[in-house]
Symmetry: C2
Subunit: 426 residues, 2 copies
C-alpha cells in the first residue's frame, strides 16, 4: 500500500519497526562503498592478459614503421586510431589518441578554449561571461571543470528520451555566452538512459548564437552494455552533424578506462578535420606524443573491435547480476510504496534513484551511519545543489554481489525511514 | 692556420677544393638525422626488460595497498614517488608523479598559471603583459610554450658557468611582469654545461618583484652522464631555495623519457608543499590519476635508484663513443681554424656548435642538401631568431656511430665553405 495512504498511527507504528530494522543493520557493522563507478576486482582480472601481449621479444613497431618506443607521432599510431575509431563509430582519421584519461582530454579542451579560443574565436578568458549547459542529474566531474573555470553552469532537465531539447534550442540560439553542453549520451551518468534518435538529430541541428559553441559528447559507455541483444543504440553524432551541415559542432570523447584498466587505458577525441587542426596547434605545444607502447598494447590485446566487443561481454557478465540484484531489491522493497522511483539501465555504470522531495541527503546520511557510502546527495547537480534534494546515484559495480544485496536493502530501509518522517511532518 | 690569416687567393683555392669535397659528399647520397635528441634503437633496446616485469600473474598492488589497475591516487603511488624522488634528489613527499611527458607537465603549469594564477595571484590571462626569461641558446619547446601563450620571451645569455645572473637578478627584481624563467640546469640543452654552485645559489636567492614568479627547473638530464666518475654536480635547488628562505620559488621537472622509453616513461614535478597544494587543486579537476601500472612497471624494473644509475651506464656506453666521435671530428677538422667553436659536454644529449657570425643558416642548409638534417638554425632562440645566426645544436644520439662520422665531417665541410664565403665577402 502506498505510504501516502497510511494513517498517522500506521506511520508511527511503521516508524518504530523501521527503526528496529535499522538498529539490526547497524549491528552488522557493514563497510561498503557504492559511491563511484569503479570496476570491481573481478572486472579488473578480466583484462590481466593485457600484461602479457608485449614482452621483451615483441616487435614494438607500429604498422606504419614508427618505433613505438621512441618520441613522435602526436596523434596516435594508425592501428590504435582504427581500433578506437571502430569503438567510437567514426573514421580513424577523425581521431586523436591521447593518454590515459578522457576526463583529462575534456579538461584540456575547456582549458584550450579558455586560453586560445576555438578555431580563431576570442579566448573565453577574455569574455565577461561564459555559460555551460549541464544536463541534470549528470556527472559531477564534468560540472566541476566548468565551475573551476568560473563559468555559469546552467541546468537542463533530463527527460525520458534525453535532455529537454526545447530548452536547449531556445537557450543556445539566443545567448552567445553559452559555449557548450556536457552530455553523456548513452547509458547516461547517472540515469542510464540513452538519447533518442530525435534528440541526437536535434543536437546535430542546433544553431548556436556562439560560433565557438561545442557539444561535449562524452560517450563513456559506448560499448558498455549489460545485455548482448537488448542494447540501446545511439545515432552517431559526428556523421549526423555533418549531414546537418554542422560538421564542427561536436567533440566526442571515449576511453578504455572501463574496458581494460581505469588509469592505464587509452583515451581518444573524435571530431571534424577543422577541429582536429585547431586542436593540434595546441597539442604540439603541450607534448611530443602520448604513450604509444600502451596504444600498441591495447591493439595487440584486442586485435580489433570484435575482440573488444567479446571482452565487454565478460564485463557484462560481472555487472549484470549486480544491476539485477539492486533493481530486484528496489522493486521488492519499494515497489508500489510511492516513495521512490529509479531507472532501469541496459548498460553503463549507474542507477539513478529518486527519493521523495527533500529526503536524499537524509537517506545518504543514514546509509553512511550504517556503513554504506553512497555518492553524496546533490553530487549529480552543479555545485552539489539538487533543488529537490531527491536524487541519489547508485554505483553497483564495485562491491561483491553479496554485499550489494545488503547495501541495497539498507538504502531501501533508509528511504522508507526518511519518507515516513516526511509524511509525519518531522 | 686560421682562415683569417689566409690571403684572398688562398681562400679562392680553398673554396674550389671544398666545393669538390662537397660534391663527393653529395654523391654518397646520405640520409641522416641529427636534428632531435632522440635515443637510438640501441639505447631503446637497453630497456626492453621493462616489458617483462609485469605479467598476468603479477601482483599489481602498490605497497600502500591500492590496486594500480583501478581509479585513484592523484599524485602517484608511494614507491614511484620514492624512485623519482631519489632520481630528482628531493624527498618523496615533495613530488607529484604525472603521465608520460614532462613537457606536458610544464605546459600545464604555464596553462594553470594563465587560467588560475599561482597560489592566489591574479591569473596571468588577466594581465596586460607577461614576460618570461629564456636562457639562450636553449630548448625550443620551452620557448614555444611561452610564445604560444603570448608572453614576451626575454633572452638571457648563457655563460660558461650558467646564465648571466647579474642580468637575471636585475630584471626580476624590477619587473613584476616577469613571471618565470626556463632553465635546463644540468648538461643544458644545447650547450651541455651545468650551472655552477654560485649560479644555483643566486637562483635560490632571487627576490622577484612578482610573487608568482617561478623558476622552471627542467632537470631533464639529471642522471644522464657520459662518464662514471667525471660527472657534473648540481646543487639541489629545492633544498637551496628552502635554505635561502624562498621555499616556493621553484618547480622542478624530470622524466624517464631518456631513461626507459620516450613517450612511455613517467614524468614528475617536485616542489614545495605550498605549491603542491596549489597544483593539486587544479590537478584533481583535470584527472582522476595518471597511469599507475606504468609507475609500478618502472619501480619493479629498476627496484631503486641504484638500479637506475646502473641502467644509465648502459646508455652512457652507447652515447659516449658518439659524442667522442663528433668532438674528435670537430677538433681534427676545425681545430685552430678560428671559424667555429663548440662545447664539450660530460652528459646530456647535445653539443652546441657556433659557426662564424651569419653562417649557421647557410651551414644547416648546405648539410641538408647533402642529406644530413640538423636542428634548424635559430631553433635554440625564442622565435627561431638567432641574432648572430651562428648557433647550431648537434644531437649525436640517434644515428649509428659510423653514420655520425660522415655527418660530422659534412658539418665541418659546410662550416668551412660558409666561412670561406664570408671571408671572401660573398
Amino acid at each position: 500500500m502506498p505510504y501516502a495512504d497510511l494513517t498517522k498511527e500506521e506511520l508511527m507504528e511503521l516508524k518504530k519497526s523501521l527503526k528496529a530494522e535499522y538498529k539490526a543493520m547497524q549491528a552488522k557493522d557493514l563497510k561498503l562503498d557504492m559511491s563511484r563507478g569503479k570496476p570491481s576486482q573481478e572486472q579488473l582480472d578480466i583484462s590481466m592478459g593485457l600484461m602479457d601481449v608485449l614482452s621483451s621479444d615483441a616487435d614494438l613497431m607500429s604498422e606504419n614503421g614508427s618505433d613505438c618506443r621512441n618520441y613522435g607521432v602526436l596523434d596516435g599510431i594508425p592501428e590504435a586510431k582504427e581500433l578506437m575509431g571502430d569503438m567510437m563509430e567514426v573514421p580513424a582519421d577523425n581521431l586523436i589518441i591521447y593518454g590515459n584519461s578522457s576526463l583529462n582530454v575534456m579538461y584540456d579542451c575547456i582549458s584550450r578554449s579558455y586560453t586560445h579560443g576555438v578555431m580563431g574565436s576570442t579566448p573565453w578568458c577574455k569574455l565577461d561571461k561564459v555559460k555551460f549547459l549541464c544536463i541534470v542529474p549528470g556527472y559531477d566531474r564534468h560540472f566541476a571543470i566548468t565551475e573551476y573555470f568560473g563559468f555559469e553552469n546552467v541546468c537542463i532537465p533530463m527527460l525520458e528520451s534525453g535532455p529537454d531539447m526545447d530548452m536547449i534550442e531556445e537557450l543556445v540560439q539566443n545567448d552567445d555566452s553559452i559555449k557548450g553542453i556536457w552530455c553523456v549520451p548513452k547509458y547516461s551518468n547517472p540515469t542510464g538512459n540513452s538519447y533518442s534518435d530525435e534528440v541526437v538529430r536535434r543536437f546535430a541541428r542546433l544553431k548556436p548564437a556562439a560560433k565557438d559553441f561545442r557539444i561535449y559528447w562524452d560517450n563513456a559507455y559506448t560499448i558498455h552494455h549489460l545485455y548482448d541483444l537488448d542494447q540501446d543504440h545511439l545515432i552517431e553524432i559526428l556523421a549526423e552533424c555533418k549531414r546537418a551541415g554542422n560538421p564542427d559542432l561536436v567533440y566526442k570523447f571515449a576511453s578504455t578506462s572501463k574496458v581494460t584498466f581505469p588509469g592505464s587505458g587509452i583515451a581518444a577525441l573524435a571530431t571534424s578535420h577543422n577541429n582536429l587542426e585547431d586542436i593540434k596547434k595546441q597539442l604540439k605545444m603541450q607534448t611530443i606524443g602520448h604513450d604509444k607502447v600502451n596504444q600498441l598494447r591495447h591493439v595487440r590485446y584486442f586485435k580489433d573491435i570484435h575482440g573488444m566487443v567479446e571482452h565487454m561481454k565478460k564485463h557484462a557478465n560481472s555487472l549484470r547480476p549486480k544491476f539485477e540484484m539492486v533493481l530486484d531489491t528496489l522493486e521488492s522493497e519499494l515497489g508500489g510504496l510511492g516513495i521512490a522511483s529509479w531507472t532501469k539501465p541496459k548498460g553503463g555504470y549507474f542507477i539513478s534513484f529518486d527519493t521523495m522531495d527533500g529526503c536524499a541527503k537524509e537517506v545518504v546520511s543514514k546509509c553512511k551511519k550504517a556503513g554504506v557510502v553512497l555518492t553524496g546527495a546533490g553530487a549529480t547537480f552543479p555545485g552539489g545543489n539538487d533543488p529537490h534534494d531527491k536524487n541519489i546515484r547508485i554505483a553497483p559495480s564495485f562491491p561483491p554481489v553479496g554485499d550489494l544485496e545488503m547495501a541495497a536493502k539498507l538504502l531501501c530501509l533508509c528511504t522508507k525511514m526518511a519518507a515516513v518522517d516526511k509524511l509525519l511532518g518531522e
